[in-house]
């Protein structure tokens, strides 16, 4: 592990997800996301975590930002985008055996990759915009034996610690964790920057290291490992048709009634 006086190495967890703004489909046989059915994009909150890391690196020379993902071959695209946004290099864990990996296995793989990277700080979005599990950062902290500072609405990285604020039901908490640590941020942080043409072409020259589960010493078939079981899967019910109000002089009143009935006001 690098000493704290040295520049930081930040591993940012990123993910390839189906575009939230497009149509998304579940494969009803496997319960998995049908990746071919939608455009793949960089996970939105992960992108914000990346932006936080990249802007820290810009202000603190020598900081290294590594984009880390576990995902199919196609996820390399998301990594290229992360590199265009400003990550210095990327690590892609891809393995046919990891197809359909649940959260526990994913966390295990990620933890191994973080160890291998020797990253001081693991930064992630509080949840991905597809699975919405929201537990990976905590699992990682446990597996790595590191403190965690999760769900941060604002983040500061410096002098051997990561700090930030977290909203709770009763107020705002100020949290702090000494490095090495795991931190996750919310969608209150700014969007990632749009990569310029120049950074997009520069990204093509940045290294992506590809690893299999075995390279990380993770035994996928370990029967002792806890695994979640998918009980059922269902498509979202189709949307009901909207209601049309023809204004016959009472349009305003009827809109107000509709809003009141549906508890929208």
């Amino acid at each position: 592990m690098s000493s704290l006086s040295e520049p930081l190495r930040i591993a940012v967890l990123v993910k390839e997800v189906p575009d939230t703004y497009g149509e998304r489909h579940l494969d009803l046989e496997t319960g998995l996301v049908d990746r071919a059915a939608s455009d793949a994009v960089l996970d939105e909150i992960g992108g914000r975590a990346l932006e936080a890391a990249v802007s820290h690196a810009e202000a603190n020379a020598g900081t290294e930002v590594v984009a880390l993902t576990v995902g199919p071959e196609s996820a390399a695209e998301a990594l290229r985008e992360a590199l265009a946004i400003g990550a210095d290099r990327a690590v892609h864990v891809t393995d046919p055996q990891l197809g359909g990996a649940d959260l526990g296995l994913t966390a295990e793989v990620l933890a191994a990759a973080v160890e291998r990277l020797d990253a001081d700080l693991v930064l992630a979005g509080n949840q991905s915009t597809d699975g919405l599990g929201g537990v990976i950062p905590a699992m990682l902290a446990e597996l790595l034996g590191r403190p965690q500072a999760t769900n941060l609405d604002a983040i500061g990285i410096g002098a051997g610690e990561v700090c930030g604020t977290r909203a709770s039901d009763h107020g705002t908490m100020v949290v702090r964790a000494s490095l090495p640590a795991v931190a996750s941020i919310t969608d209150r942080l700014p969007d990632p920057r749009f990569p310029s043409f120049k950074s997009t072409s520069a990204a093509k020259k940045k290294p992506i290291e590809t690893l299999a589960a075995a390279d990380l010493g993770v035994a996928v078939e370990d029967p002792a490992a806890p695994r979640s079981i998918l009980i059922s899967v269902a498509a979202r019910p189709p949307r009901a048709g909207g209601m049309k109000i023809d204004d016959e002089g009472d349009g305003g009143t009827r809109i107000a009634e509709f809003l009141a009935q549906n508890r929208l006001v």
């Binding site: 455009d39 749009f194 310029s196 043409f197 120049k198 997009t200 072409s201």
Partner: protein, 734 residues
């Protein structure tokens, strides 16, 4: 995608007279200014056939030199030369499966006749009220003259047939001669063509009968009838003589199809109702019941752009065919897009009437929404097919207003890699605020269409809400080509077209001086008397005045021009602008301009306070004697729509650093739209499109030449000197 079955109805064939059209889409006759350019005209009309319109009509077509519309450019069926040119037009329409129609037009007393210099005939010898400034009259027509008029139509119909048209449509609207006979204000006759309704209808009946006889077994003989002239108490009212006339004609069985409209020549703006005043299908109550009175198909217009509205109008029994002029200009492919289930891709007309405005300036018609209008032949543009670039490049477009959006979209369609950036959170630039002005909501379609289409192109990245770019950032961006579309802003100091000087004591930093941007952003308009100082002449000053008046401010418009919001003369909105101002108590002062503003006094001067005569003012020095009268106007708040100033600083910074472009691997920096010079959105969009189409040219900043159509010296003329005049005098030809 496939067609929504609810829209199947629109694709049923309809038979009228000897012809059957493939669907219910009728591209209504409308002027264009193109007819003297046969290639431009043919390709423009044929594009509608290619886009799926079943029937494509030309514009108004003068049947005889007596009804010469010059300086307006109409089609003409005067001689063999016209047959050749229009023959090319019908051939192009037929190539795409459309039926070609021509509108036979004789406007007599309202025809300026500035080219032919002939005398026109009409029911009475009256001066034109449409062009009171032009001193044009018609001559009382004798019964022999009436026969000659009918013969002119017959000869024109024969020529139309020779040119390949499928239908002849008699204009009985826009105050043409059949309507002049019908309307009491023009018909003062006491013979069998005047007086009673039947007598006044006689000319129209005899005319249609003659045309049916002449060509009716081969061509459809139809009419475009003004079922309500809207104007004045003498008007043809739809519920009286309007529908009564249709019934009468129906009994005679001499009309194969009715295309009905409202609003006469003076109030053409009621037929071509602008979206600021008329919602789609505003004429519905005036044409209601018409279809039930006749046994033949009826066409009704209403700036229809939505297939649902079209289906509703047909199902409600309003009409059998959907007529459209402006919607077919803004999107010649409406029928095909509906047929293919691509309704979201319809480029909806925004009802701005810029098309009409160019025609009204005796110029060439263009369209705000469709930059390819009129460019099909002369630049080889197509509204749906841009072709692909032979050398795609990485293009940065700065500014997502009308010009920037159109440039980015065109570049993306042509396969370039495009980044479109704007510091605003949404697309549209200044046009977003415009679309929120009172009455202007339909203008927002300009943005919506481009938003939808940009979404569909994966090679364009729309980057909104980003910090405004510095020259350094542009240089560092890695773009091969840079297009600046950074727009303009309203002058905060009252720079205007009269003096070109800032006004004394005027700055929009003051609480009682406001620009449109500030009004849109919510800066309060102080109570009391508000003056809108307008040097723009279009709709922005009107919008500001209306906002102020609606807040209860006593509002006056001061303008240097001869009329208030003078451009609205061309968009045909002047009458309704004035009616709305009258209703809201908005007053105006013309031919005045301001010099300064202090306390609550706005100092103005009358533009013509100097003497008319030229005098020797001092020995050897000649000139006017200058007046120094000042008009003082009480003014608690001043809104400035004086002129716009380009936001071009980024451009000039980049020009200054031209030496660094090569190192930054930038091939070129170009600017488009208002940041070059403020202009109508129509021209900004055109320039965005042009730069997108011509990015590979040696200097995309400057347009490539287009095909110019004019008579090249040496070709034989038609007619030639010494030719005889076609004979129309004498007995009826049929």
């Amino acid at each position: 995608m496939s067609r929504d079955p609810r829209h199947d109805l629109l694709f049923e064939p309809v038979t009228f007279g000897p012809k059957t059209t493939r669907n219910r889409f009728w591209a209504t006759s409308h002027s264009s200014g193109y007819p003297d350019r046969p290639g431009t005209h043919a390709s423009f009309r044929a594009m509608k056939a290619e886009g799926g319109w079943g029937v494509v009509n030309t514009g108004f077509c003068s049947i005889h030199p007596e009804s010469d519309e010059y300086p307006w450019t109409s089609s003409r069926l005067w001689d063999e030369g016209d047959v050749i040119n229009l023959g090319h037009l019908t051939e192009e329409i037929h190539k795409h499966g459309g039926l070609a129609g021509v509108q036979l037009w004789y406007n007599g007393m309202h025809s300026p006749r500035y080219e032919s210099r002939e005398s026109a005939r009409g029911p009475s010898g009256l001066p034109s009220n449409v062009f009171p400034e032009r001193n044009v009259y018609a001559a009382w027509a004798s019964e022999d003259d009436i026969k000659a008029l009918i013969n002119m139509y017959v000869l024109a119909a024969y020529r139309a047939e020779e040119a390949g048209f499928d239908l002849v449509e008699v204009s009985g609207g826009d105050t043409t001669v059949p309507l002049q006979f019908l309307e009491t204000r023009y018909n003062k006759r006491t013979d069998r063509y005047g007086g009673s309704f039947e007598n006044r209808a006689r000319f129209y009946v005899e005319l249609m009968t003659a045309l049916k006889k002449a060509v009716g077994d081969r061509l459809a003989v139809t009419t475009r009838f003004e079922v309500d002239t809207i104007n004045g108490d003498h008007r043809i009212k739809h519920f009286e003589e309007g529908l009564g006339f249709m019934e009468l004609m129906n009994k005679e069985g001499i009309v194969d199809l009715w295309s009905i409209k409202i609003g006469d020549y003076e109030e053409w703006g009621e037929d071509a109702g602008s979206s600021r005043f008329r919602k789609p299908n505003w004429a519905a109550p005036f044409v209601a019941g018409a279809r039930d009175l006749v046994d033949v198909p009826v066409v009704s217009n209403g700036r229809f752009t939505s297939p649902d509205d079209m289906v509703t109008a047909i199902k409600a029994g309003q009409c059998d065919l959907i007529g459209a002029a402006r919607p077919s200009i803004a999107d010649p492919f409406i029928p095909n897009k509906i047929a293919e289930g691509r309704v979201d891709e319809i480029r909806e007309c925004i009802g701005c009437n810029m098309c009409v405005s160019r025609m009204q300036q005796q110029a060439l018609m263009y369209c705000t929404q469709n930059p390819t209008t009129g460019e099909e032949y002369r630049r080889g543009w197509h509204p749906e097919e841009t072709g692909t670039s032979p050398s795609p490049s990485a293009v940065l477009v700065v500014g997502a207003g009308p010009a920037g959006m159109e440039a980015a979209l065109t570049l993306a369609r042509r396969g370039h890699e495009v980044h479109l950036r704007d510091s605003a959170e949404a697309l549209g630039g200044h046009w977003r605020a415009v679309a929120r002005y009172p009455r202007c909501s339909e203008y927002g379609r300009l943005i919506t269409y481009r938003e939808v289409m940009l979404e569909k192109h994966k090679n364009v990245s729309v980057q909104l809400g980003v910090p405004a770019m510095s020259a350094q950032e542009v240089l560092d961006y890695g773009a091969e080509k840079v297009i600046l579309a950074t727009g303009s802003h309203w002058s905060p100091v009252g720079l205007g077209p009269e003096t070109h000087e800032p006004l004394e004591n005027v700055h929009a930093d003051l609480p009682n001086v406001l620009t449109p941007e500030q009004v849109s952003a919510g800066k309060p308009i102080p109570e009391g008397k508000v003056v809108v100082l307008d040097g723009d002449g279009h709709f922005t000053g009107f919008a500001m005045a209306e906002i102020a008046a609606d807040l209860g401010r006593e509002t006056t418009i001061v303008t240097n021009t001869h009329d208030v919001f003078e451009y609205s003369k061309f968009t045909m909105e002047m009458p309704n602008n004035k009616r709305a101002m009258y209703e809201k108590g908005i007053t105006f002062l013309r031919n005045h301009w301001a010099t300064g503003y202090a306390g609550n006094v706005l100092r103005l001067f009358y533009l013509y306070r100097d003497t008319a005569g030229l005098y020797e003012t001092a020995p050897g020095q000649w000139g006017r004697r200058f007046g120094d009268d000042v008009v003082e106007l009480e003014c608690d708040a001043l809104i400035l729509t004086t002129s716009r100033v380009p936001d071009d600083s980024l451009y000039w910074e980049l020009i200054e650093r031209k030496g660094e472009w090569a190192e930054a691997e930038i091939d070129g920096v170009y600017r488009i739209g208002d940041c070059v010079q403020p202009r109508h959105a129509m021209d900004a969009i055109f320039e965005g499109h042009r730069v997108g189409m011509e990015l590979e040219s040696p200097d995309p900043q400057r347009p490539l030449p287009f095909i110019r159509e004019r008579q090249i010296w040496g070709a034989p003329t038609i007619p030639q000197l010494g030719d005889q005049r076609p004979v129309v005098e004498g007995e009826l030809l049929v």
